[in-house]
């Protein structure tokens, strides 16, 4: 359990069922509440744009079955919701527009996930 992350409501966008399950579990272990998990871009975009869905942050897998997650990122940014990327492509695979966004390299490492998420959420609150 991480105090900083306890009760934090998160949106997870991850297109691989197995990986999504694990991240869900890891986040739950940190005390986060995973509000929803989207496996597709359209679903992710719908959730991110839903003003009625209370979320404090998001973890976005960059590549969703060949599609880039950036529209979701833009929707979140428009709402001022902090997020981090998760990618198997490495940092170089991220668009220049979001080069300032922290990116978590797959496979996931719990501590890195926790630290990066904490930093992002604090930055978001400060900002």
């Amino acid at each position: 359990m991480s105090e900083a992350l306890t009760g934090v409501r998160l949106l997870l966008v991850e297109d691989e069922a197995m990986v999504a399950m694990m991240v869900e579990d890891l986040l739950a272990d940190m005390g986060c509440v995973v509000v929803d998990v989207a496996g597709t871009l359209s679903r992710g975009l719908a959730l991110a744009s839903d003003a009625g869905l209370p979320i404090d942050g998001a973890i976005l897998d960059v590549n969703l079955g060949g599609e880039k997650v950036y529209p979701v990122a833009e929707a979140l940014a428009a709402r001022g919701i902090p997020f981090i990327f998760a990618t198997g492509y490495g940092i170089g695979g991220i668009s220049e527009t979001f080069s300032h966004v922290p990116a978590l390299a797959k496979p996931y490492e719990q501590r890195a996930l926790e630290r990066m998420l904490t930093d992002a959420l604090q930055g978001g609150r400060e900002g």
Binding site: D15, A17, M22, G39, Y89, P107
Partner: protein
């Protein structure tokens, strides 16, 4: 060279004739001279003899008048001094010989009559009257040799010799002239022949030179053709850039490499630069300047924009030439369209990225399997469950590798996942039917893992755990327009009565929840007593498509 044949011919022909004419003329002149000379000699002789006769007549006039024969004899005898005189006679008025003499071999006539002088052969006989006043006293007779034969012969011989010499001279002249003419003629012929030979030689040299030029040209053409072929085969364009004027000379292939239309200007560096991608112009200029300044080979790769809006990669290699003072004059080189190579490089890079991505994702999947298995299984069953899941993941990768990670078949995914749970010879316990649906790599992995959980459950507790139990999987593509989805039905039958599990494990969660989320679809898992039933409705998307 033309020679004056007619003149030469005339000269050549005339010379002997001329020689004959001149010789004849000389002979005739000699003859005339001899005749004239003879007459002159005769006239002279006649005058001399006549004078002598007159003198004798005058001398003896007194003697005759006085009939003094002795005196007459003396006067006549005085002529003995002259050896030419053969006979001298003094005759009285009656014609009777008064005095005289005759050299041996000659005779004096007994009577004399005055008459005209008589030439007979080499002799001249002159008779003159002897008178005193008008009185005829008698006559004088004088007979002389006109000229002695040897002297005459000598004289004529001299003339003859002269004529002969003249004739000889003429002949020699003629002969020499003839031989000269002949020599001249031969010379002329030789000159003509030589001229012809020279002409022929000149022509043959010209012909040879032309032949060699033709050969060289042919070789040049061949090597040009070979170069052209090589350039064509290599799709190499050749170009030259005048560094002073900026004038550009480019071959057809350069134009082709730049995707230019026929007639489109491409004659200057600015034409070239205009075709270079704006993002590469500075770098191109830098590389060009550097190669010129450092005298190194230019090697530059840049993008070009064709008039069709296509972007191509061009490789340019070149080398500059310099004046003696070091100023660069021109740069010549080749250009090559390397778009295909660049694309291949790009594909390779993408493939590597993709491979890296997949490895990382796979590791994340393995992580997940480990975590989930560890959380839901007890220590005893962890190892078996974990290894089985990893093996399923590996089968999914085998399948993806077989189809080059593009479009794995749904049927294959299900068939391979079920295969380990059915003994050989019992494949009829499993029935699969449905259209050819193709899956993206992620979808293939997720569905493999989902069907693996279903199959494991069936093998442990469901229809595949009992003899005669079976699994039927049918799928169809259904639904209107955008809502088109693949509906998959998993039905178990013939197994022991199904008992609903006390708690939902990893398998249930994966199949019911995570799979539905991944595909943005619905999945129902029903533990009906007669057999497990799983219904999936997964919308068609990039992850799941109906085979074309």
């Amino acid at each position: 060279m033309r020679l004056p044949w007619p003149r030469s011919w005339t000269l050549r022909r005339l010379t002997p004739a001329l020689t004959v004419v001149v010789a004849t003329a000389l002979l005739l002149a000699g003859l005339a001279m001899a005749i004239f000379n003879e007459q002159q000699v005769r006239a002279q002789k006649l005058r001399e003899v006549s004078v002598q006769a007159e003198i004798l007549a005058g001398s003896v006039a007194g003697a005759l008048a006085f009939d003094d024969h002795n005196a007459a004899r003396e006067y006549a005898g005085a002529l003995r001094a002259n050896h030419d005189v053969e006979a001298v006679g003094v005759y009285d008025a009656t014609g009777r010989l008064a005095a005289g003499y005759a050299l041996p071999g000659s005779q004096l006539p007994q009577t004399n009559k005055v008459g005209p002088p008589v030439f007979d052969g080499a002799h001249l006989t002159v008779t003159v009257p002897v008178a005193q006043g008008s009185t005829q006293l008698g006559s004088a007779y004088l007979r002389t040799l006109t000229e002695p034969l040897p002297r005459r012969i000598a004289r004529y011989a001299g003339v003859g010799l002269l004529i002969l010499m003249a004739a000889l001279l003429v002949a020699v002249f003629g002969v020499s002239n003839t031989s000269l003419a002949e020599a001249h003629r031969k010379l002329q012929i030789e000159m003509v022949e030589r001229a012809r030979a020279e002409e022929a030689l000149r022509r043959s040299q010209q012909a040879e030179a032309m032949a060699q030029i033709a050969i060289a040209t042919e070789r040049g053409k061949q090597s040009e053709q070979q170069l052209e072929l090589a350039l064509r085969a290599g799709r190499l364009g050749s170009w030259a850039l005048d560094l002073e004027s900026g004038r550009l000379t480019a071959s057809e292939f350069v134009r082709a490499n730049f995707g230019l239309q026929p007639g489109e200007p491409f004659d200057s560096e600015s034409d070239l630069v205009a075709r270079v991608h704006p993002g590469d112009r500075q770098r191109r200029q830098r590389e060009l300047d550097s190669a010129i300044a450092q005298r190194t080979d230019l090697e530059s790769e840049y993008r070009t924009l064709t008039p069709d809006g296509e972007t191509r990669w061009i490789l340019v290699r070149g080398r500059a030439t310099y004046r003696e003072d070091g100023a660069p004059i021109r740069m010549t080189g080749v250009s090559l369209d390397i778009t295909a190579r660049k694309n291949a490089d790009e594909r390779r890079r993408l493939l590597l990225d993709e491979l890296n991505h997949r490895v990382k994702n796979t590791l994340a999947t393995v992580q997940s399997i480990a975590l989930q298995t560890g959380r839901t299984a007890d220590a005893a069953s962890f190892e078996q469950a974990f290894l089985a899941r990893i093996a399923a993941l590996a089968r999914a990768h085998d399948l993806l590798t077989e189809v080059a990670w593009e479009g794995a078949s749904l049927r294959e995914v299900i068939a391979r996942t079920l295969a380990p749970y059915v003994a050989e010879g019992q494949t009829d316990r499993i029935a699969l039917s449905g259209p050819d649906v193709r899956l993206s790599p992620n979808a293939a992995v997720s569905l493999t893992m989902a069907f693996h959980e279903l199959a494991t459950n069936a093998g442990k507790y469901g229809s595949l755990s009992a003899v005669g139990g079976r699994v039927d999987v049918r799928w169809k593509v259904d639904g209107p327009g955008d809502a088109t989805a693949v509906e998959i039905d998993w039905r178990e039958s013939g197994g022991p009565p199904v008992v609903r599990p006390a708690r939902r494990g990893f398998g249930s969660r994966l199949v019911e929840k995570s799979l539905a989320r991944e595909f943005d679809g619905q999945v129902e898992l029903i533990f009906a007593p007669e057999g497990v039933w799983c219904h999936m409705r997964l919308p068609l998307s990039r992850k799941m498509q109906l085979a074309a």
